[in-house]
Amino acid sequence: MTTTSTTAPAGQDDDLVVPRRRPLRWIGIVVAALVLINIAYSFITNPNYGWETVGKYLFDPRIISGLGTTLILTVVGMAIATAIGLLLAVMALSDTRSLRAIASAYVWFFRGTPVLVQLILWFNLAILIPAISIGIPFGPTLWSADTNSLITPWTAAILGLSLNEAAYLCEIIRSGIMSVDRGQTEAAHALGMSRTLTFRRIVLPQALRVIVPPAANEAMGLLKYSSVVSVIALPELLYSGQLIYARTYETIPVLIVVCIWYLVVVSILTWLQGRLERRLGVGFRTTATITDTGRWRRWLSPNH
């Protein structure tokens, strides 16, 4: 029992490899820190930022109301766009050629024209189609209304943003569905599962893992480009700010206020994205998320 002795702890320590020195890293960290300190110093001391004015407008009712409009446009726009995008993606992956053609024509048109133009077109829909009616084509009309009374700045904005966004989401959802191995569908079918059950329980949960990161990108993009609705006089966050500084000439402070709110919302979205990704990543070994802040201390250590 005593023939082989295990290595003594002291000997083990001597055996450990000493990591290579990395002096350039230290220089890089010092330079980056200096630049950051310089920027921070300028932020604090440069009076042109107008921090008091920023404070004055941060919770201004007009800004908050604009923020509310932006949030509604983003949430409702994204919800409608997801529904249409999912439908288009399923059509694009269908075996039926005509359905694929419709989906690709939709994507071609809405990706191919500026969202600004689409918004103006929707807002001026009455010029093209004076009245909208629901009924049997070439048959009796069940319901009818004047286009001008239906197309308010709100409906035009929601229509324009969501129909445009749907085209991008269609492509994202399509790529997500295609990323799921065919064997998954075959295994589900072999177990007697229906096509809808297979899609809902087997394919979609796995596709979402691929869909969520770029879809979150789209949500953040929509949050900011929803500001184009100012062309149809809907005061969202940026336009509300512009209305203020057009009168007071406090351009920079008010824009800083606007940016602070965009950053707050994007931070919340990023956090939500991270949570969602972790939930969907269950069962898959590697899931890196961009909100992995648990080890922020290690970033400061040069030899991590």
Binding site: A188, G192, M193, V282, R285
Partner: protein
């Protein structure tokens, strides 16, 4: 006493992919409780034939009859009409299938992989489905892995879960499509052991395989396929021991 009908009866199965006909009229019968091993070179049509049995591939001609039922088609006025998907699904539910690459659902736990179809296809309640799943997991020797995710299991363990998943539907027939071909050599044995146990319990099995030892030991029948046809069929001692067809001899001299 009447002679029992075979459980599986294939007649004149033809299948083409584009211009390439991969099955040129295959006939095959498997009795209840029998194990049939399909052997042959890759591209000989073994897997396609297997997939025709549960209608994952729809044959262009010929009949697939399992348990007296035509799979995938109604016979009406002497013509065959493709069935509505709903009916094909019900037929598939009674035929278990095990794939070369396991095809477990990675986002579900081992237990959920097994209970998903019994609950949602057969309408089994959760406690019954769970009890069945636990029974099957101990039968394949994985009682302790119920809450694990497939990615954390070895290939052999994943394939055993896949077998349990198929058995959970209480099938009358199990199809195996090269169940050990994607496994490391040291993991092949544990999967074959489970299959041996199944055969001993009287499960009817059709196994596409390259494991000649398994075929020799477990199969009641071995069918050798070459270029979309079954060229030789019989008990393993005959097909593997003293093959009469030149193609069979050529194939066996390469794999044995």
């Amino acid at each position: 006493m009447a002679i029992a009908e075979p459980l599986v009866k294939l007649t004149g199965i033809r299948k083409r992919f584009g211009r390439n006909e991969v099955l040129h009229g295959v006939d095959l019968e498997v009795d209840r409780g029998e194990v049939l091993c399909l052997i042959g070179a890759s591209g000989s049509g073994k897997s396609t034939l297997l997939r025709c049995i549960n209608h994952l591939e729809s044959p262009d001609a010929g009949r697939v009859i399992v348990g007296g039922e035509h799979i995938g088609y109604h016979e009406r006025h002497g013509r065959r009409h493709e069935m509505p998907e709903r009916l094909v699904r019900a037929q598939r539910a009674g035929i278990g299938m095990v794939f070369q690459h396991f095809n477990l659902f990675p986002h579900l736990t081992v237990l959920q992989n097994i209970t998903e179809a019994p609950q949602r296809v057969l309408g089994m309640n959760a406690s019954e489905a769970n009890a069945t799943a636990h029974d099957l997991l101990s039968r394949v020797g994985l009682a302790d892995k119920a809450s694990a995710f497939p990615k954390s299991l070895s290939g052999g363990q994943q394939q055993r879960v896949a077998i349990a998943r198929g058995l959970a539907m209480r099938p009358q027939l199990m199809l195996f499509d090269e169940p050990t071909s994607a496994l490391d050599p040291e993991l092949v044995g544990e999967v074959l052991d489970v299959m041996r146990g199944l055969a001993a319990d009287g499960m009817t099995m059709i196994v596409v395989t390259h494991e000649m030892g398994f075929a020799r030991e477990v199969a009641n029948q071995v069918a050798f396929m070459h270029q979309g046809r079954i060229v030789e069929q019989g008990p393993p001692s005959q097909v593997l021991g003293s093959p009469t067809h030149e193609r069979t001899r050529g194939f066996l001299s390469k794999v044995l």
